[in-house]
């Protein structure tokens, strides 16, 4: 299997405070890799470090090129799409404008992609001329994912998409992610605090604690690990 992403000794933080203390992870083509970690472990920081939203040191190899020195908009152009924690939609723009700006890094025609996403999320089509700010949480998350995928990325970074969503909506969302993964071969790096559903769709799992990867393994190993079950699965 070919490797999409590999980080080596990835360090990042805010001001003088280092939050990530040398993270090494990798994502292979077609995988859904889940990173579990408690609140404040540095999951969001890791995602932001990969997509170039914050200054970082170390190596971020994407398709065998080091992108650790690139700024965020160039990382996007390379083929990484990042759905930030809290969705990060553009509330003042309409749903359709949100999708159009999602394709900003592309130079080709993307009208067909918009129709495709309306097919995947019919509710977005119903609301295409509404401002994104008026959507419900679940709709916003769908919009955020569709917008990210408008750039036709090779890797999708997804930061706690389940946050604030009803379990049913979360399940629906994860099913879409899984379907995209199996149908189009999209690689996904998914960060979650609430792990039950995430483990169901994961190919591989990392555990992040206070800025360091402390273990990795298959979803099954984690589901059967008592300590992990207590901390992240709530049962």
């Amino acid at each position: 299997m070919s490797e999409i992403l590999r980080t080596h000794d990835l360090r990042a933080g805010y001001g003088l405070i280092e939050v990530l203390h040398g993270v090494n992870i990798n994502v292979d083509a077609g995988e859904i890799v889940v990173v579990l970690g408690a609140n404040g472990a540095g999951k969001t920081t890791m995602m932001r470090a990969i997509s170039g939203m914050i200054p970082r040191t170390g190596v971020v190899d994407f398709l065998a090129d080091d992108i650790a020195h690139l700024s965020a908009h160039k990382v996007t152009a390379r083929g990484i799409a990042h759905v930030p924690q809290g969705r990060g939609t553009f509330p003042e723009l309409t749903v359709e404008e949100n999708l159009r700006i999602g394709a900003h890094s592309r130079r080709d025609s993307f009208a067909a992609d918009i129709d495709y996403w309306y097919g995947v999320f019919p509710r977005l089509q119903e609301r295409r001329l509404q401002r994104a700010g008026s959507l419900s949480g679940g709709e916003q998350q769908m919009l955020a994912i569709a917008r990210a995928l408008m750039s036709r990325p090779k890797l999708l970074l997804c930061d706690e998409p389940s946050l604030g969503l009803a379990p049913l909506v979360t399940r629906e969302l994860f099913e879409v992610l899984q379907r995209l993964n199996s149908e189009t071969g999209l690689s996904v790096l998914l960060v979650e605090q609430n792990a039950n559903l995430a483990l169901e769709i994961a190919s591989r799992v990392y555990l992040l604690e206070t800025g360091e990867i402390v273990s990795s393994g298959t979803p099954d190993e984690y589901m059967n690990n008592d300590a992990v079950r207590k901390s992240y699965l709530g049962h």
Partner: protein
């Protein structure tokens, strides 16, 4: 009745300039969240350049376009080199740099072109004593009609830019959520520089038209216009382009009517007082303006 139309028309014409300058403020504000206190002085300085180019023999319209181009480059450069580096620190730092620009450009103009420089400025439009049309008993000077048309055309172009182009969408995205804009691949730095450049270019055009009506270029050219423009931006809600335009025209009409119908109390001297009252009133009663989002942060 003819008086009414006269005040209305004169008001619309001066309001068109307030609108243009208010648009400059709004374009910068939407992109960066800053009020550019040096906007008026940037316009004034560009107007001096336009005047100088014209003085050297360039046709005025060409000089105005050149002035706008220089303004664009200057505005973009100011944003990248002076504003953005200090913006990380605080809004106050941005304010101080803008004040530095204000004082710097103002005194530089005075230093280069003499103090007080009183350069005669031709108008972009026919401006002989009999260059007017009588409509509804009011005299509609070609100069004022020209300003109104230019104002509307620029506004229309700006709307088209924001709503119909890829770059305009990117600008709106940055205004809406700068972090997400970076994540979808927008080069936010370029957008911010372009916002300042655009504002400076429009400001150059507005300044040229102001100087054309007064017939002279002086360092204090834009002081009062900047106040009117801020009043318009405040009334319009700071982040609304349409709001700025409507508010600018409204303020122009209101202050002309006030000055015209109460010549003893308000007259030409106290027109500015009307603008001050509008700013005070709006900020006290509805700080988000008439068309704005909840962006002006409230205590």
């Amino acid at each position: 009745m003819s008086r009414f139309f006269q005040y209305l028309f004169d008001g619309l014409s001066s309001g068109a300039i307030y609108s243009l300058l208010a648009l400059c403020l709004v374009v910068v504000y939407r992109g960066t969240g800053y009020l550019n206190f040096a906007q008026g002085e940037m316009s004034m300085f560009c107007t001096f350049l336009v005047w100088k180019l014209n003085d050297w023999g360039m046709p005025l319209w060409l000089a105005a376009i050149s002035g706008m181009l220089i303004g664009y480059l200057g505005g973009a450069t100011v944003e990248t080199t002076l504003i953005r580096p200090v913006a990380k620190r605080s809004q106050f730092a941005v304010f101080v740099v803008a004040i530095g620009l204000f004082l710097g450009l103002n005194s530089l103009a005075g230093a280069i072109w003499g103090a007080p420089p009183q350069e005669t400025m031709p108008s972009l439009f026919p401006n002989e004593p009999d260059d007017f049309q009588r409509i509804f008993g009011a005299s509609w000077r070609y100069q004022s009609i020209g300003i109104l048309i230019v104002g509307l055309v620029v506004t229309g172009l700006l709307f088209a830019l924001f709503n119909k182009t890829r770059f305009g969408l990117a600008m709106r995205a940055v205004a809406s959520n700068a972090d997400s804009a970076r994540l979808v691949g927008v080069n936010t730095g370029r957008v911010l520089a372009a916002s300042w450049g655009l504002a400076a270019a429009i400001g150059a055009l507005a300044g040229t038209m102001v100087a054309g009506t007064t017939g002279e270029v002086v360092p204090g050219l834009m002081f009062s216009y900047f106040v009117y423009a801020s009043a318009a931006a405040t009334l319009g809600g700071f982040d609304s382009l349409g709001g700025a335009v409507i508010a600018g025209l409204t303020i122009g009409v209101v202050e002309n009517m006030a000055a015209g119908y109460a010549p003893k109390w308000i007259g030409q001297e106290m027109r500015l007082g009307v603008a001050l009252l509008i700013i005070l009133g709006v900020l006290l009663i509805k700080p988000t303006g008439l068309f704005g989002e909840q962006k002006v942060s409230r205590v």
